[in-house]
Symmetry: C2
Subunit: 407 residues, 2 copies
Amino acid sequence: MDVEIITIGDELLMGQTIDTNSVYLAQVLAPLGLNISRKTAIRDGKHDIITALDESLARVSLVLITGGLGPTNDDITKSVLQSYFGCGTRIDHDVLTHLQRIFAFRGTELFEINKMQAELPDCSKTLFNSQGTAPGMWFEKNGRYVAAMPGVPGEVKAITEESLLPLLAPLFQLPPALNRTLTTALIPESLIAKKLSAFEKRIPGCGLAYLPSHNVVKLRLTRQDPLLSGEVFERFWQDLLQELGDWVFSPTDSSMSEWLLDTARKRHMTIATAESCTGGYIGNQIVQIAGASDVYKGSVIAYDNQVKIDVLKVEKTLIEMHGAVSAEVAHQMVEGVCALLNAKMGIATTGIAGPSGGSEEKPNGTIYIATKIDDAVVVKHYVLRGNRHDFMVRALNTAMKQLQEMA
Amino acid sequence: MDVEIITIGDELLMGQTIDTNSVYLAQVLAPLGLNISRKTAIRDGKHDIITALDESLARVSLVLITGGLGPTNDDITKSVLQSYFGCGTRIDHDVLTHLQRIFAFRGTELFEINKMQAELPDCSKTLFNSQGTAPGMWFEKNGRYVAAMPGVPGEVKAITEESLLPLLAPLFQLPPALNRTLTTALIPESLIAKKLSAFEKRIPGCGLAYLPSHNVVKLRLTRQDPLLSGEVFERFWQDLLQELGDWVFSPTDSSMSEWLLDTARKRHMTIATAESCTGGYIGNQIVQIAGASDVYKGSVIAYDNQVKIDVLKVEKTLIEMHGAVSAEVAHQMVEGVCALLNAKMGIATTGIAGPSGGSEEKPNGTIYIATKIDDAVVVKHYVLRGNRHDFMVRALNTAMKQLQEMA
């Protein structure tokens, strides 16, 4: 079943906020067979909201709205929805109690502007917001449904899990969507497409999507014909894995960091990182995964050369001879950090993220990555494309691929 | 002038990719007076593309499309646009030469599938893509304009700067949009709204938007009446700054990391960070700013207690007495890292990011932040809300506010 999302807020259109809510919603709804068919971002304007709702409700029977429900004057969604559905107001006493608790906990006064957040359209059900002050709302009219939630990501998540999904589950009993995703690393998209050109012709009822990002290409096989059996879908999936062979980095959609943590756990090893040009990006991506602390020891961000020498025990003469951006220094960095933090698996990076600092011999994007497992160390040289952030993401992906080839 | 963006790609709707292109486009177009009035994300489907284009071109005279221009079979945008504008094909020889160069540099063969990327609709101008293989396209029909670009962020940026903006600048000579943004930190949105309720009533022709995120609230004053003079706008802005007084963290929209780097440069100091629960997030946000290396020395991510003891010289007995999550340990961490990396400004964090690890005494979200400037050290205790990532962002913002109060 198709679902549309409408996000409300000038800030989303002015480039001051990145919309992650619709990404989250797509991820939790897809396994229920609810597929996002369109996302529309509009301004905080009455006319914009009404027009977008009219258009979406003409196409689909479930619309999810995020944003525009804060306590301040620029948030008008609640009153627009109330008049759209032609209803009056009510006070939700559970919400009021919740507001009083939050403000008592914060030690600040509950102002009238906040109390008004407990005033809701009387034709709506409350979608309780345990993580914030603005409750969500659920409307139904002529067999069409609208859920409205505030725009704060943690609140969208809480409302969805605690209030929205329990409402949706019994309402839309649909055959689940079927799709699987695998991950390849450092193989160009066009090379994969060439290899799979025959395969793509022999999967009737299925579609294959290429999702390239920073030297990683994910491939998603999706059932498009609902009559196709799960067994046939599974056979196509196995075919795909076979076709790609060792180009498959991981037969899942999980992140590179999750792969690293799993690998370390399986081998009963701990991990340390030493980062120069990537400035903590790799370590932080690892730590973003809950439970990382059982195998991840820590990192030294040796942004300054003196830190490489003092903390990681890189020889000063080595830096003078080969430069800080060199295979030799990367090698000593990974050895140094594994010794310092007492870890068996290690990753070290030294390079030039740009946009300045490059030379003809070592252009922007140059990086040496050293990886270590037990006593084995591999150091490789790459030139990675993109801006500063792209460079760091590619460095992470490249380091993981390099580690996998050793493992 | 209003502009609409259409993003094409199943991956954007399935939650596998976050759309950052439209954020970038909004940021570069706003100063030119081109404001994004609506963003629509649609599937890789012919009908979806045509419908969305029809709708957008009925509302505005400039539409920007991103996505769906890769070399693979699931990308159909080019052929749909060709038939939408009713034209044939041409070979762009500059693009072909560019493709040959890229593939020679990569050392891989230029396949037919890639060569086809030089084949473009003959009614379109080429928007040259220096960063990738898929060129952008520019269409004009009855005084309406459509620019189509691939979906890779670095390529969108390059095409926009090198090809799109030079086309737009002479075409749309409009009075520039006028807006300014300031940043507050750790002041609740509702408290700010209360303080500004009178101010908001005495700024005719202007609007004030609240942009809250992770304990930071940005306030954006926008000119809504094009006849309002720049001088009056500037007076409103000064009024706003005055009203807020020392609640203003920064009178700009720049990031917390930029503020830190600027402050360190002004004081001729260098910065070091020691992170436990935030696992490199703070350091990496600093390093994401180009040029950070002149004042940022590096960091120790002391995720494991042994690293706190061995590297940062935190006393073992202190950890045993007070726990690793304590004011005492945060204090020694900041002293330790500043001594180790020879820095005058320091930030250290120790806490519990969750979702597990919390206790009644120290719940998930507990954090001790130590900040140091010269010989002064401040350690404070906070309980921060949200998931793992939210926790890290709030920790960064809180640490900067704490540093500012010392400075």
